[in-house]
Subunit: 451 residues, 2 copies
C-alpha cells in the first residue's frame, strides 16, 4: 500500500489538536458558527506557515515528467548516420512527398485508435493542430461540400463540461458559440446532445475526449457511444470531434477502461461521415515531437486531402519512421505505456490519498478517481474554485486556472478545479496536494462564514 505520510507539510499544530481533528471530520456545514471561526483561525495560521515554505510547484498542465521523457531516449539511436532511410514501400523518407503519411505510420496510429489504416492520415507533431486546422478548414471551405462556416450567421459547438480548455479555445478563436453540456460518468448528457443537434442546424460539432476524459478521467459507456453514432443532426455538416488523446494511457494493469471504436459504430449506424477522430504520441513518445493523426471515413479524408495537398507537400516522414522503428508494433507501445503507468500511478495515488485523508466526510469537495489519463477533476463548494486556486498560487502551487475547464473560462458554479499530477514527483504531488486541501478547507470555511 502506497503511503504519502512522510511527504506531508502539515504543521505540528495541524494534527496535534484532537478537538480540531474531530471537528474537521464533521461535515463543515454541520459545524456551528463558533466552530467554523475556531477552524478558520487554525487554518489561517497553517496557511500562513505554509506560505513560508517557499513552495514552487506547477500542476497546471498535463506535462510529462522528466523521468517519463527519459524513458523514451533510446528512440534517438533508432536512426543514425548509417540507417536505411527507406520506408517499407522503399520511399526515401528524407525527400518530399507522401502527403498522408507512411503506410507503417498509418498502421501504428490506426492500432492506437483501433481503426483501419485506410481511415488514417498521419500528420505532424500535434493533434491539437489537426483539430485547429479541421475547424479552420470548415470555416473557409466547409465540410464535404457544405457552406463554409464563415459564410453562416451562427455556428455553434456543444461542449461537454468540464472539458479541455484548448478545445474550447479553438472554437472561441473562430467565433463559434459554445453550449455547455453536462458530463456524467458515462459521458456527455446524451438526452441533451440528441435534442440539441436534432433541433438546431447551426450546431456543427461537439468536442469529446471519450476515454479518460480531460479533466474527469471518465470513459464513455457503450450506450453513450452508440447514441453518438446514431445521432440525427439537423446539420448535414455536423461532426463529432473525437479526441482520443488517452487511448493507451492506463494507470493500472488490472483496471483499464476500454471504449467502443467510434468509426465502425458510426458506419454500422449508417452515419459513416459524422466523426473525426484525433490521436497523437505526444504523451507516448515526446510532447511536441511526436506523431499525430486523424481518422475518418474515406469521404472525409478525401475532402481533407484537398486542402492538405495545398497546405503541405508532406509531414515529417523521418519522425514517422523513427517512431515506427522504435515502437515496432502495438505491443511495443503497450509495453512502453506500462512503464509510464508505473511512474504515473504513485503521483495519482499520492493525490488520492491526501484528498481522502484530509477531505473525506467534510462535504466540501468531491473528486474523480480515474483509471487512466492525465487528470483528476475536483469539485469544490459552489463559488470556491477561483479563491482556492488563488490561495494555492499565493503559497507557491500553480493549478490550472479555475474556470479553464469551461468554455470562455467561465465555470457557472465556480466549482471545478483540474489537478494535473503528471509533471511533479510523487513527493511534490503530495506536498502540493497538502497545500491544496488546506486551501480548500480555508476557502470553504470562509464561504460558510460569509453565508
Amino acid at each position: 500500500m502506497y503511503t504519502i505520510i512522510q511527504f506531508s507539510i502539515k504543521t505540528p499544530g495541524y494534527n496535534g489538536k484532537v478537538g480540531l481533528e474531530d471537528m474537521e471530520r464533521k461535515a463543515y456545514k454541520e459545524l456551528s458558527r463558533e466552530e467554523l471561526q475556531q477552524l478558520h483561525t487554525q487554518l489561517t495560521k497553517e496557511y500562513e506557515e505554509a506560505k513560508t515554505k517557499g513552495l514552487q510547484l506547477d500542476m497546471s498542465r498535463g506535462k510529462p515528467s522528466v523521468t517519463q521523457l527519459d524513458m523514451g531516449m533510446d528512440i534517438f539511436d533508432v536512426l543514425n548516420a548509417w540507417s536505411d532511410m527507406r520506408s517499407m514501400e522503399k520511399i526515401d523518407v528524407r525527400n518530399y512527398g507522401v502527403l498522408d503519411g507512411l503506410t507503417e505510420a498509418k498502421h501504428m496510429m490506426a492500432d492506437i485508435m483501433g481503426v483501419s489504416a485506410d481511415n488514417v492520415i498521419v500528420c505532424g507533431n500535434a493533434s491539437l493542430t489537426i483539430m485547429y486546422d479541421t475547424v479552420s478548414r470548415s470555416m473557409t471551405h466547409g465540410v464535404m461540400g457544405g457552406t463554409p462556416w464563415c459564410k453562416l450567421d451562427r455556428v455553434k459547438f456543444l461542449c461537454p463540461v468540464p472539458g479541455y480548455d484548448r478545445h474550447f479555445a479553438i472554437t472561441e478563436h473562430f467565433g463559434i458559440e459554445m453550449i455547455n453540456v453536462p458530463m456524467t460518468p458515462q459521458g456527455p448528457d446524451m438526452d441533451m446532445v440528441e435534442k440539441l443537434v436534432s433541433e438546431d442546424e447551426s450546431i456543427k460539432g461537439i468536442w469529446c475526449v471519450p476515454k479518460y476524459s480531460n479533466p474527469q478521467g471518465y470513459s464513455y459507456s457503450d450506450e453513450t457511444i452508440r447514441r453518438f453514432a446514431a445521432l440525427k443532426p439537423a446539420a448535414k455538416d455536423f461532426r463529432i470531434f473525437w479526441d482520443n488523446a488517452y487511448a493507451v494511457h492506463h494507470l493500472y494493469e488490472d483496471r483499464q477502461d476500454e471504449i467502443l471504436e467510434i468509426l465502425s459504430e458510426c458506419e454500422k449506424a449508417g452515419n459513416p461521415d459524422i466523426v473525426y477522430e484525433f490521436s497523437s504520441t505526444s504523451k507516448i513518445s515526446f510532447s511536441g515531437a511526436g506523431v499525430a493523426a486523424i481518422a475518418a471515413s474515406k469521404g472525409n479524408l478525401e475532402y481533407i486531402k484537398k486542402s492538405m495537398t495545398i497546405q503541405t507537400i508532406g509531414y515529417d516522414k523521418i519522425n514517422q519512421l523513427r517512431h515506427v522503428r522504435y515502437f515496432k508494433d502495438f505491443e511495443g507501445i503497450k509495453e512502453h505505456m506500462k512503464k509510464h503507468a508505473a511512474i504515473m500511478r504513485p503521483k495519482f495515488e499520492a493525490v488520492q490519498q491526501v484528498l481522502e485523508n484530509e477531505l473525506a466526510g467534510l462535504q466540501i469537495g468531491s473528486w474523480t478517481k480515474p483509471n487512466g489519463g492525465y487528470f483528476i477533476s475536483f469539485d469544490a463548494m459552489e463559488g470556491c474554485a477561483k479563491a482556492i486556486v488563488a490561495k494555492c498560487k499565493e503559497a507557491g502551487v500553480t493549478l490550472t486556472g479555475a474556470g479553464a475547464t469551461f468554455p470562455y473560462g467561465k465555470d457557472p458554479l465556480d466549482s471545478n478545479i483540474r489537478i494535473a499530477p503528471s509533471f511533479p514527483t510523487p513527493e511534490e504531488m503530495a506536498m502540493a496536494t497538502d497545500l491544496f486541501v488546506l486551501c480548500v478547507k480555508l476557502v470553504s470555511v470562509e464561504k460558510l462564514l460569509a453565508s
Copy 2:
C-alpha cells in the same frame, strides 16, 4: 570544362547529316517550307527512336537528389540516447512549450534570412505550411486587426509570372483572385505593382521569390527591393509574401547573387509591417523534415502568435535542436551548401550545355542561366509548351506541367516550361535534356508548318 557529349542519346542519323546540321543552325523561321518538312521527317524519326529507349526520368519538381540527402546523414548522430536534451536556455526540448521556437533556432533561421532573431518565429517542417496558414488566418481573422478577408467581396493577389505553382495554389484554394505581373531579370514589373496596389484596395498581397526566383533564377535588384519597401498600398492589410526559399542556394563560389534584406528596408521606408518573410531548411537539411520560419515586424509577430497559440502548444523543438547542433552556426550552413553546390552545378551545366549546343541560333526557345536556386526557366515559341511537355512525357521524361508556373495553370502564351535539374544525375539530366530539345525542335517545326 564540363562536357556532356558522352551522355547524349542522339541517334546516329542525328549528327550524321551535314546538310541537316546546317539547316538546324539557321533560325527555324528562316527555313523554307520544304526545309521544314525535311526537318520534320528527320526529327520525327529521331523522336520515334527516342521513345524506344524506355527512358523514365522525372524533372518535374525541385526535389533534392539522393546524393544530396546522403550528405546530411550525420545529423542523425547529433542527438542520441545520451544527449543533453536541454536548449541553451535549459529548456527540456522533449516537453511541451516554447511557442515561437528555441532561441538558438531563431538565430539559425535569422542568419539564413539576414534578419534579427527577434523578428523570427520558428515553426514546423515546411515554409509552405506557414504561408498557407498565414493566408488562412488572414481569411478568418484578418491582418493585424483588419477585416477578415472572408468577409470581403473580393480579395486579390499579385502574382509575378512565371512563378511558383504552390504559391498560386494557396491563393486559388482560398478563392483569391490572382493578377499576373510580368517578371523581369530585376524582379517583378514594379511600375505595374506600384500602380495596382496604390489603386485597388482589394489587392491584399503579392507572392515573391526574391532570390534565385522559381522558376527563372532571377534575383531582385536593389532598386526593385527598395520600391517594394516603399510601396503605398491602398489596402492597409496588404502584405508582401517574401518567400526567401533559396537564400543560401548558390551554384558557384565566384558568382553569387545577394539581395537587400527586406525587413530593414521596409523599416527604413516607414513600412515595417508590410512584409512577411519565409524560409526553411527543406533544401538545406531534408525536404519535409527540416525547420521552417517566418520573419516579420513585432507587430505582425504578435498578431500571428494570437492564432498560433491556439493552433499549437509548440512545434518540434527536438528537430530544431538537432539542426542547430548539427550546423552549429551560419558558417556551418554555408559550408554544407558548398557541398550541395558541387553536385548541383554539373546538373545545371549539363542542361545549359545541351540547350546551348542544340538550340542556340534556332530562335525557337530561350532560357535562363541562374547562379543559384533549383530551376531553369525555358520559353518556347508561343503555343508550344503544352505540346513539348506532352511529347517529353510520351517518351518517358516528366516535366513540370506546362502552365504550372502561372496562376490557374494558364500560361497565356503557352510558352513557359520549368526545368528542375536537382533530382536526376548529371548523366540523366543530359539524356533528359537531349530528349527535351528534340521535342522543342519537333513541336516548333510542327507549329511553323501549321502556321
